[in-house]
């Protein structure tokens, strides 16, 4: 296995697709302020505030029920908060957009449970995810041009599924599905990647490769990783946020966080 080659979205913006202008002049690419979500009286998010900087790689940890997935849901438009504001850059109010618009604005998400289109081939999965005009009529008459084909080829190589290009996604192994989903994420050319437990069910080697990939992405993209695997988090993390009962318990480097008395209490206290 060679080094991971990444198709570079920042330098490759000539695909002619207009998305809302992202303004990150003042630093953070994502603002969550005082976000509250409750289900049947249970507060999944409790006045949560969180900022992600442009180009940052952030890891988010927390015990079960801390609100990690709900937070992702709020950012990607699946769940509407009861209160609070969520901005993408300075200008894009995510609460006013639906899921597809958020995706088109440049936020990609990888789910905890690998979710690919099982009836479609690997190639078709990537083709669908590709950053392009995703309105109805253009889709009906869409044909792949050579650049786009090349893009797909590159990503397939990146995720190591070139040989399986015509196989149905449903027949892939668990790890391959994880990779395919990451590949789809790359095809979307997002500015912010939300990655939910990327290495669950992966072999040690695959985990390493994933870490490598995520690290190489950071800088040009902002990446938010939610993960339980502490070793993995340690291997990639620069800054770690701990969520507990729907709000931020603490933030800092891995060492700072691990020595924080409240964190120890939360993780071990039960």
């Amino acid at each position: 296995m060679s080094t991971v080659r990444i198709h570079d979205p920042v330098t490759d913006e000539n695909d002619g697709v207009a998305s809302p202008e992202l303004d990150t002049a003042h630093g953070p690419i994502l603002y969550l302020e005082d976000v509250t979500v409750s289900f049947d009286g249970f507060r999944a998010l409790n006045v949560l505030s969180l900022y992600i900087d442009d180009g940052e790689l952030r890891c988010i940890i927390g015990p079960n029920g801390a609100g990690k997935t709900t937070m992702m849901d709020v950012i990607t438009g699946k769940t509407r908060p009861d209160a609070g504001t969520v901005f993408f850059g300075q200008t894009i109010d995510l609460l006013k957009l639906d899921e597809p618009s958020i995706a088109q604005a440049g936020i990609g998400r990888k789910f905890q449970k690998p979710s690919v289109f099982e009836q479609l081939t690997v190639f078709e999965n990537l083709e669908l995810a590709m950053h392009t005009d995703k309105r109805v009529w253009p889709t009906l008459f869409a044909r792949l041009n050579s650049t786009q084909r090349d893009d797909i080829e590159i990503v397939m190589e990146t995720i190591g599924l070139t040989a399986q290009r015509q196989e149905r996604a449903g027949s892939l192994s668990h790890g391959q599905k994880q990779w395919l989903e990451i590949g789809m994420l790359l095809m979307q050319k997002p500015k912010l990647l939300l990655v939910d437990e990327p290495v669950a069910g992966m072999t040690h080697q695959e985990t390493e490769r994933t870490a490598e990939l995520l690290l190489s992405l950071a800088g040009k993209h902002s990446v938010v990783v939610v993960e339980h695997d502490m070793e993995f988090v340690r291997s990639i993390a620069r800054k770690v946020t701990v969520l507990h009962e729907g709000s931020v318990l603490t933030e800092g480097t891995m060492d700072e966080v691990q020595n924080h008395p409240r964190v120890i209490e939360v993780y071990l206290g039960d």
């Binding site: 009836q119 889709t139 789809m184 979307q188």
Partner: protein
């Protein structure tokens, strides 16, 4: 992309289209050119029945498109079919003109005896064939658009969607049964005389409509194939399998669903418009929820998500119906009901699925 290119990957489709063309040519030749006394003569009865089957096949195609590919189980497609039929029926009603029993050039007979004084506004324009044809496309299309927009926007899916489509067609049935609606109530529209000046009772006209049905079935098949082979086809398949995932990669799912729903409704409308001149009557029972359910079964029997399966299912089930109701009317419902159960339990992919399995089994 040329048709040949499109069909290159669809060999069954190619076979089907060839057979369809052959069938159309043979039937019409044997009807028009072979003398009636000959053993090879095909009676007009047969032509009409065959034409009816082709309309059903087109309707089944429309259902397969939304159900088989997009996962929308519509239990109200009969409504689009009937609306297309009514639009064509209204044109043919207006063509009767003074030849109605009351000799009233301004109003259809049923309006005369219900004491209507003038033609209601929604009948205006149906004197013209182009207008009626436009309405055949527009009315089902707009209804599907309105209904789909409301339903898909608020993410009504699965069973709920099926049930409210059923409510939709049921509401239409009740409405069209009302005589005040101005569509002839229970008797519907009937006693058609001619279409575009051609006498509907002439064999030539009948064969022409039969050929048109075959043509539209062929065209419907090719366009549907184009749609499902396009990237859109892959998007709707994605929607069927993982709707919310499709949203997260940036597709406005409700727009795609709406588009395919409307397209399918228009196909159903065309099928209805071709059906009515061949059977000679359109009545509110076409809106009955039972009809819509039955046509879903045609698709299931043939095999959904294949297009040709729907065509096969529609023709076979209806042919069986003609045969069974002829010889054993009491058994027909047992057979049909049993078929429903058997298909869902034992052959979820329909006949096409069975054929595929046999084929694969043979190879092994």
């Amino acid at each position: 992309m040329g048709i040949g290119n499109l069909l290159a990957r669809d060999r069954v489709g190619k076979t089907f289209l060839t057979l369809l063309a052959l069938f159309a040519v043979v039937v019409s030749t044997l009807n028009l050119l072979v003398p009636e006394a000959s053993a090879f003569h095909v009676s007009t009865f047969t032509v009409t029945v065959a034409g009816k089957y082709l309309c059903y096949a087109l309707l089944a195609l429309a259902v397969d498109l939304v159900w088989g590919y997009c996962g929308i189980l519509s239990l109200g497609h009969g409504a689009f079919f009937a609306l297309g039929g009514y639009a064509m029926g209204m044109y043919m009603m207006r063509q009767i003109g003074e030849r109605g029993v009351y000799g009233n050039a301004l109003l259809p007979d049923f309006m005369v005896f219900l004491n209507w004084k003038e033609l209601p506004w929604y009948w205006l324009g149906f004197d013209h064939f182009w207008f009626a044809s436009l309405m055949v496309l527009l009315v089902p299309g707009l209804l599907a658009c309105l209904f789909g927009w409301l339903a898909f926007r608020s993410r009504v899916t699965g069973v709920y969607l099926s049930i409210i489509t059923q409510a939709l067609t049921y509401a239409f049935m009740l409405a069209f049964f009302r005589n005040e609606m101005g569509f002839g109530g229970n008797n519907g529209l009937t006693d058609f005389k001619d279409i575009l000046g051609f006498n509907l009772q002439k064999d030539g006209t009948r064969v022409a409509i039969f050929l048109l049905s075959a043509l539209f079935l062929g065209l419907g098949y090719i366009t549907s194939r184009f749609v499902v082979e396009s990237k859109m086809g892959r998007v709707v398949t994605a929607v069927r399998d993982a709707e919310s995932r499709t949203r997260f990669i940036g597709y406005k799912v409700e727009h795609f669903k709406l588009w395919i729903f409307v397209f399918s409704a228009v196909l159903a409308g065309i099928a209805g418009a071709l059906y009515v001149p061949q059977v000679g009557i359109i009545n509110p029972s076409e809106f009955s929820p039972l009809n819509s359910l039955e046509l879903v079964i045609w698709v299931a029997v043939g095999g959904r998500g294949t297009l040709y399966g729907a065509v096969l299912g529609a023709i076979l089930v209806n042919y069986a119906k003609t045969i069974f109701t002829g010889i054993l009317p009491e058994v027909w419902l047992f057979a049909l009901g049993g078929l429903f159960v058997a298909v869902t339990l034992f052959m979820p992919d329909g006949l096409v699925g069975v054929a595929r399995r046999l084929r694969l089994g043979g190879v092994r």
